[in-house]
Amino acid sequence: MMAGLFLEKRTSRFWLATVFLFLYIPLLFLIVFSFNSTRQDGVFTGFSLRWYQALLTDSRLVEGFWLSLKVALLTGTLSVVLGCFAAFVLVRYRQFSGRTLFYGMVNAPLVMPEVIIGLSLLLLMVASQRIFGFPERGFATLVLGHMLLGMAYCTTVIQSRLQEMDRSIEEAAMDLGCKPVQVFFLITLPSIAPALVSSWLLAFTLSFDDVVLSEFLSGPGVTTLPQVIFSYARRGVNPSIYAAATLLIAIVSLGIIAYSIYALRQQKRAVNASQAT
């Protein structure tokens, strides 16, 4: 038995390490070769910042970045709002006619191939444009498309938090004189706040990162950053995108480190306070 345990521990460490390596090899590649002095992908010829310079002067990339940022900010916010509604419906309203359909529709975008969602939304936009004269394919259609995906993810995250929430604090609020709408804003929202934040981040990232839906739904002159990167990547090697990737990795890592420090400090504060009792 002990031999089995020993073997398991070794296998465990080995497997975890290998998979982590697999997950991080591309990231390492991106970081290293963003500083490469030549275009070559196979050899590191020397240290250079030229690709970072090229990145900042590449108008397509820069414009794409700003557009993606704007779309993602709007998508994130709207997705959280819709996700909140949907999560509330799924958790608090157990019985109403059409619940199964609702459940199916909310969760489907999580799993369905994006090309199908993209095509069907495109058809909707075009049909709508013919009948009502709007929307023009561009910013609005991008946001609407990204929101569909974002809402599905937000609903899942918020739903699980809402389910775990202790409902007696809502009753206590009503008991103390809070009208039902007030209860939601004063008590329920603060209680699910962490879920709202993490689902916003999720929707933001998904929108910022999205290629397929964007390709279907963007219009002339409206190109997101992933779309630009996609066209570059298809054509050949372009280390400017490696520079972009490295910057992105740096930002995300900083964000995660900052969050971890924050969370650790919160924990320490709670421990100290309860020890002082």
């Binding site: 590649f29 070559q40 509604f85 949907a86 509330f88 609702f102 090309v115």
Partner: protein, 303 residues
């Protein structure tokens, strides 16, 4: 006015907002998709040609379900030999292979992760998710650089003397599967992990107490209990993988044309909207059963 009555208009509003939104932006597009797929484009090559046509005194229904025929037969290669069928087969093949690879790599990973010390787990989970937060396009492009004929991996192997000539990896099955597995691995790991971490260790202890070896206990107890996680994870990989478009474009070769790409070309290159729609409808039908499985096992992972 009782509390119950107070809820009703508010309740209707809360249900109504997301419901209407979903009906308009999810259900309606599908109906349009269906409609376009059986549209007779007519002489004007307009996908939105009205379905009803008034010619004189009578109404005619302009439906063309025959739009679906060219998907399955093209007169040359007999029934089932079209490029479309081939593309569907390729897609299903790669989706299935990716699922198996993700399961083979991801299950042990999730298992070992769930057995780590509780203090270490959040940090490790964060490390698993970190790549997910950085653009997946960029990471796929990195694989292009790594697996190229003059890429890092080949150069490394040449330098180490393991090979004499660069191995062709890019634009082959290898690069496809590496890319697909890479991207979909976190989708398999997460539901498995959630399921495994909640498992009651005492069940395993009871099994050991009754004489089962660690290995046997794993197969007889752990695996069956994690069934919900396995199915959810597999569906979460398989279904979107069928329609995958980006990875084949960047890492796949001429032999690996998947249905997403074919549909794309029909739409953007050939401007054949009805055909593209028909292809999508058939794709939907293909994933209908996996979709049903996913829904069934989705919520069971948190038992």
């Amino acid at each position: 006015m009782t509390m119950k009555a107070l809820l009703s208009p508010a309740k209707r509003f809360v249900i109504g907002v997301p419901y209407v939104w979903l009906l308009v932006f999810f259900a309606l597009p599908f109906l349009i998709l269906l409609r376009i797929s059986i549209t007779d484009m007519g002489a004007s090559i307009d996908p939105f040609t009205p379905l009803l046509d008034r010619a004189g005194d009578s109404w005619r229904l302009l439906l063309k379900p025959q739009n679906y025929l060219p998907l399955f037969t093209d007169g040359v290669s007999g029934f089932g030999g079209t490029i479309y069928i081939q593309a569907y087969q390729t897609s299903l093949k790669y989706a299935a292979l990716t699922t198996l690879l993700c399961l083979a790599i991801g299950y042990p990973f999730a298992y070992f992760l769930a057995r780590c010390k509780p203090s270490v787990r959040p940090a490790l989970l964060l490390l698993v998710m970190l790549p997910f937060w950085t653009s997946f396009l960029l990471r796929i492009s990195a694989w292009k650089g790594i697996l190229a004929d003059q890429g890092v991996l080949n150069n490394l192997l040449l330098w180490l003397g393991i090979i004499n000539q660069p191995i062709v990896m890019l634009y082959t099955d290898v690069s496809m599967l590496v890319g697909m597995t890479y991207v979909y691995l976190p989708f398999m790991i997460l539901p498995l992990y959630t399921n495994l971490v909640k498992m009651d260790m005492r069940l395993l202890e009871a099994a050991h107490d009754l004489g089962a070896s660690r290995f046997k206990a794993f197969w007889l107890i752990t695996v069956p209990l994690s069934k919900a996680g396995i199915v959810a994870g597999c569906m979460l990989v398989f279904i979107p993988a069928v329609g995958e478009f980006v990875i084949p474009s960047l890492l796949g070769g001429a032999d690996n044309i998947m249905i997403g790409r074919v549909m794309w070309d029909e739409l953007f290159s050939s401007n054949n909207w009805p055909r593209a729609s028909a292809l999508s409808v058939v794709m939907m039908l293909l994933v209908l059963v996996p979709l049903a499985l996913y829904y069934r096992y989705k919520d069971r992972t948190v038992e």
